[in-house]
């Protein structure tokens, strides 16, 4: 993780690629395709940050399993993030609160982002991809 102090004292994450994940596991392929993009970018040596927002916060929820037909879901990919050196995991505070969740419900330690830190996060990455 690459962090710089900014004037207000907030910590802002910088990087090459910010992948924003806004869809839940199983319901569509957006989450898996977004995670795949992040893994590939990291494998190519780019500094990748993940922002879990909206229903995307469910990607980090404990206790997920394969679907009834054996659909793999994405929890296996979440376990691989560290192996790909993707260590910047950010979660939108509003998304957690509005779903009655807290960081204690999540599989991995994350940084919580809210308010003005959100636009700064987008600003500090060269490329932002929304999934």
């Amino acid at each position: 993780m690459n962090e710089t102090e900014i004037a207000t004292g907030e910590r802002v994450t910088e990087g090459d690629l910010l992948v924003i994940l806004r869809h839940s596991p199983h319901g569509s392929s957006w989450l898996r395709e977004g995670l795949d993009t992040a893994l590939v970018a990291a494998a190519f040596g780019q500094r990748v940050s993940l922002l879990f927002s909206g229903d995307g916060v469910l990607a980090l929820l404990d206790g997920q399993q394969a679907g009834a037909l054996g659909q793999k879901g994405t929890h296996g990919v979440i376990d691989m993030l560290a192996m790909y050196d993707i260590e910047t995991l950010l979660v939108d505070a509003h998304a957690l609160i509005s779903r009655g969740l807290s960081t204690e419900d999540l599989l991995l330690p994350v940084s919580v982002v809210e308010g003005a830190a959100l636009p700064k996060l987008l600003d500090q990455h060269r490329l932002v991809l929304n999934f």
Partner: protein
């Protein structure tokens, strides 16, 4: 400055809230496809903080019969104006 693209009707999808929350003070918002429903006067209160930074794509308004029904706060641009907005922004982010 980032150009944000929104293609969802604010009347039916919360995507607009995600987009607005991610916008910085100089960022711009361009409504395209079903996003142009956001240019209707009934939706205007959503975008009061975006004076001069809210745009809507003319051909998507026209195709939906909405061109004459827009709120004044939306700057109407044609597809060439869309290209100009992408030139002027450092990057674009699409919300869907």
């Amino acid at each position: 400055m980032i150009l944000h693209l929104l293609n969802r009707s604010p009347a039916t999808a919360g995507t607009v809230d995600d987009a607005l929350a991610a916008m910085g003070p100089d960022d711009r918002l361009l409504l395209i496809e079903d996003g142009v429903l956001g240019a209707l006067p009934a939706q205007a209160s959503l975008f009061t903080g975006l004076a001069g930074r809210l745009f809507a794509l003319r051909e998507d308004l026209a195709a939906r019969g909405l061109l004459e029904r827009c709120a004044e706060q939306a700057n109407i641009v044609d597809v060439e104006g869309f290209v100009t907005l992408t030139e002027e922004a450092d990057k674009t982010v699409s919300w869907f």
